[in-house]
């Protein structure tokens, strides 16, 4: 899995905003903001990763139980798929 080409995150006013690059249209009506955890998962996914790699990245950074990390990763992937931001 990896993040589709043509998107990046930009930090604006303390938020991590998903922005289409270059000439592509930016629609604030459906703008996706990532929190700190989301931004970490995004960065991990940028170069391609499996679900277990994402869980490992969370566990390395945060002191949370593995099942919580797994659920957060699962939720994140669902949202990214819904927004059509993932290449499988």
């Amino acid at each position: 899995m990896k993040i589709k080409d043509g998107y990046m995150i930009r930090e604006v006013a303390g938020y991590n905003v998903v922005v289409p690059v270059g000439e592509a249209a930016l629609d604030f009506n459906g703008m996706i903001n990532l929190n700190e955890t989301g931004a970490l998962l995004w960065k991990t996914l940028t170069d391609g990763a499996e679900e277990k790699d994402l869980v490992a990245a969370l566990l390395a950074e945060y002191d949370v139980p593995e099942d919580v990390a797994k659920k957060d990763v699962a939720d994140f992937i669902i949202k990214m798929r819904e927004a059509n931001l993932i290449d499988e």
Partner: protein
């Protein structure tokens, strides 16, 4: 319509401004739902979305432009004329004109409005017909306001 407030995500437009400016300079488009009632009936707050692009030609009458006032406020209003001071702007729901707006203040120009799922282009003949009738709407709004002021003065006299 002006925006010194927040968009739905709670981020102030002023904070997103570097992103907006960069996107437009790269030839991209921006869409958002404007805040306020000054561009009724064309743009309904919370319902309708506008698309902006970079200004490519000289700003002209009937263009709806997104610009920043000296006090920092972002505004989306229509050009209704020009004089020696600069551009003359007015919202579609207003009759008080704003004078002296400079081309350098313009961030982008509106190219379409999304209403009830339908995209209305600013090149559409229906839209241009609407623009040409706005002077009449301004007269009506001024007249209505005049009558209200007269009536409230009359009420005070007879209290």
């Amino acid at each position: 319509m002006s925006n010194s407030g927040k968009n739905v995500e709670g981020i102030r437009l002023a904070e997103l401004f570097p992103l907006i400016e960069e996107k437009l300079k790269n030839g991209g488009e921006i869409s958002f739902k404007p805040h306020g009632i000054s561009m009724l009936p064309l743009i309904r707050q919370g319902k309708d979305s506008v698309t902006l692009e970079q200004l490519k030609e000289e700003p002209k009458k009937y263009d709806v432009i997104f610009y920043r006032r000296a006090d920092g406020q972002f505004v989306l209003h229509r050009i209704i004329g020009r004089d020696e001071e600069g551009l003359i702007l007015c919202g579609d729901n207003q009759f008080v004109k704003e004078y002296g707006v400079q081309k350098e203040q313009i961030i982008g120009i509106m190219t379409s409005v999304l209403r009830d799922g339908e995209k209305l282009s600013c090149n559409d003949t229906k839209y241009l017909r609407y623009c040409k009738r706005l002077w009449l709407r301004r007269k009506y709004l001024y007249g209505r306001n005049f009558i209200r002021r007269v009536l409230s003065k009359v009420k005070r006299i007879f209290k």
